[in-house]
Structure formats: C-alpha cells, structure tokens
Amino acid sequence: MAASPAAPLEPGEHELAISIVSADSEVWSGIAKQIIAKTTVGEIGILAGHEPVLAILAEGQVRVTLASGEVVTAQADDGFLSVDHNRVTVVARAAALV
C-alpha cells in the first residue's frame, strides 16, 4: 500500500494540510491554520511555512486550529509528527479524536 499516492489535499500558501493517522485508520484530515502538539522536549506550534520537522511526540493532545477558529483536539499516544512543505502528518499507534 505504501506505493499509492499521498492524500489529495492541497494546502494553500498560508494553510496547512493536516492528517492524523493511527495504525489502522486515518483519524482526521483537513486544512487548518495551526497545529499544536506536545513533543518529548516541549510543546511545538506549527504555522504555514514552517521548516521541515520530524519530532517525537509525547503522550498528549494534539490541537488543530481550523481557518474558522474552530479547534479539533485529538489524543495521540506513542507517535511522531512530520512537517514538510505545509503538509503535517501526525502518526500514532493509537490516536482518537477527543
């Protein structure tokens, strides 16, 4: 399955395309303007245009702020976060929306 193309979400210049995935399914995906997650060394906040990052997540909540100001919260255990060209992927063995 690893060969199939990535999710078709296309982020704009000031947007982030975010997907939160757990081992057996995609928990949430969409366009947002900010994401805050807790890494092993502290909280990290990401806005559009952030440099590429690969961070290990500590157990905790991931908060996604949508363009409308609405906040989506997910619990992510045991995973990592990657940022590359305004694409953010939160990967966790166990993840669920709160």
């Binding site: 057996d24 590429p52 063995r93």
Partner: protein
C-alpha cells in the same frame, strides 16, 4: 451389474455433498475478501506516513545509524515467513515456502547464516515435519491479523537486529508474504526490511543542491531510535493484512475450482450410472427372451 450401479450412485452422492461444502467455503471467502481489503486500505495512510518519514530521515541526514548504514559484513540474516493457518487455498502457503527456499539458497551462497521466524500454522507444520529449526513461531489469527501481534513480531525482530552478532544478533531482515493484487492474482513478495532500502515519497536531492534543513526533535539519533520499531511494525502489519486478503482470495479461487471439479465428476458418474442401468435392463430383456425361446422350442 446392480452392484456397479450402486457404486456410481454412491460416488455421485459423495461428490454432491463435497460440492455443497466447497461452494459454501467459496462464498464465505468471497465475503471476507472485501473486509480484508478494506483493512489493507485503512492501514494505508499510516504505513505511507511512516515510510515517508523514514525515507526523509534516510535521505536528509548523514548521521550514522544502525537503521541507515549497511554493515560491511553480514553474517546472519533473519527470514520471516507469512503463511496461513489453514489450507484449502491452493498454492498459497507452498509459494511462500518455495520462495523461502530460494532466498535461503541465495543468502547461504553469500556466506550468510539464515534463521527463521514463522507466522501461520502451515509454515510451522512444514518446519516441524522436516525437523528444521525456527527461532519463533506465531500461529492463530492469520485470517484477521491484529496490530498487537505485529507489534510483538516487530519488537522481537528489532531486538534481534540491535543485538551484537556474537550474541546471536542478525544484520539483515527479510520478509516473505503474499501480496494481494486482485481477487485473481496474489504474488509472493520477498522484501528486505533492514538495512533500509526504501526511498519512497521523498525525492533524492539533486547533486550540488543544498539539503533542506530538516529539523529533528529532540535530535536525529533519538528520532531514528524511535522510528525504527514503528517502521518495522508498520511494514509487518501491512504484510500481515496483505497476506490475509490474499489468503481469502486464494481460498475463493481454490474452492471455486473444487466446485467446478465436483460438477464435472457428478456429470461423468451420472453418465456411467445411466450406462450401467441401461446395460442391466438390456441384460434382463435378453435373459427373458432367451428363456422364452428355450421354453417355446421344447
């Protein structure tokens, strides 16, 4: 004569009963393929994300890490076989075992010692019958794999990989599983899991072009350390799901062929039974005619 007819009728009956069973199994597998395929699709985003992250690290960092560097000499390789728990699936498990034989020959020709990990009762039975050793075996649940099993297998392999050679560690890990391509085709896949071979999702930088600065938190080593088990697990889980879907497809096909064969048998035996019945009648008539002639000529 009558005895012959009875034998044919018995065979027809037996073929009909068998056909009922194989037809039922065919339908059950057909319905399970859908479910298994949906699980493969659902785990896609996770394994894609993990693979992309691993490729990114492998491509954009020059750090020496067990995950990304190829050891100079490889003395021992681990081979993981993904077979099924049940048979009646055509050459499903046999294909895997044959591939493992070829791989073993290839590895041993390169002077590597091969150790085995088995998934599925079929591989376990094969090894047991030939008194071949396997380090560890996981049976049960190949039809509906669980992530916890993948985690357990992954942990065992990673522990073995980071162990030093003198203590029985391995330098290479291969997996062999059936990939689900379509309901008609399943293909045995031989993949080297470690050292890393994937360069997927991230394009290799042009020579001379400066690498985009990937930032690692806390640092490259730690990120790689925690990525390694996640990557192995996701590959193994994917292999297990693919194998489960392929198994259902193989069973469906095998059972379809079996039902067709039963149909053919029923048809052939019905013909033979009709023949036997007809020749019985013919014989009776000729006996009666012969008897009447004998009486009349007296």
């Amino acid at each position: 004569m009558a005895a012959q007819l009875r034998v044919y009728r018995q065979k027809i009956k037996s073929a009909q009963t068998t056909k009922k069973i194989t037809r039922a199994m065919e339908l059950i597998s057909a319905s399970r393929i859908q479910k298994a395929q949906a699980r493969v699709a659902a785990s896609g985003p996770y394994s894609r994300a993990v693979t992309r992250a691993v490729s990114a690290v492998a491509t954009y960092s020059n750090v020496d890490h067990i995950l990304t560097t190829e050891p100079e000499t490889i003395t021992r390789a681990a081979v993981v076989l993904f077979t099924s728990d049940r048979g009646l699936a055509g050459a499903f498990s046999t294909n895997i075992i044959r591939e493992s034989g070829e791989l073993t020959a290839r590895l041993e020709a390169q002077g590597k010692e091969v150790i085995y990990y088995l998934v599925g009762r079929k591989a376990a039975a094969y090894f047991l019958f030939r008194r071949r050793d396997a380090v560890q075996t996981w049976t049960g649940g190949t039809d509906n794999p669980e992530f916890a099993t993948a985690q357990e297998i992954g942990k065992t392999l990673v522990d073995k990989f980071v162990q030093s050679e003198d203590e029985g560690g391995v330098n290479e890990i291969h997996i062999i599983y059936n990939r689900f391509i379509s309901a008609l085709t399943q293909e045995p896949q031989v993949v080297r899991l470690l050292p890393l071979e994937v360069v997927e999702g991230v394009e290799a930088p042009e020579p001379g072009e400066s690498l985009p600065s990937y930032e690692f938190e806390p640092d490259v080593g730690d990120v790689l350390d925690s990525l390694l088990p996640v990557y192995i697990e996701s590959r193994i889980f994917n292999a297990m799901l693919q194998s489960a879907a392929a198994k259902h497809a193989a069973t469906q096909r095998a059972m379809h062929a079996a039902s067709d064969n039963a149909d053919k048998l029923i048809k052939d035996y019905t013909r033979l039974a009709n023949n036997a019945r007809q020749s019985e009648i013919t014989q009776q008539i000729s006996e009666i005619v012969g008897g009447a002639d004998a009486l009349a000529s007296k």
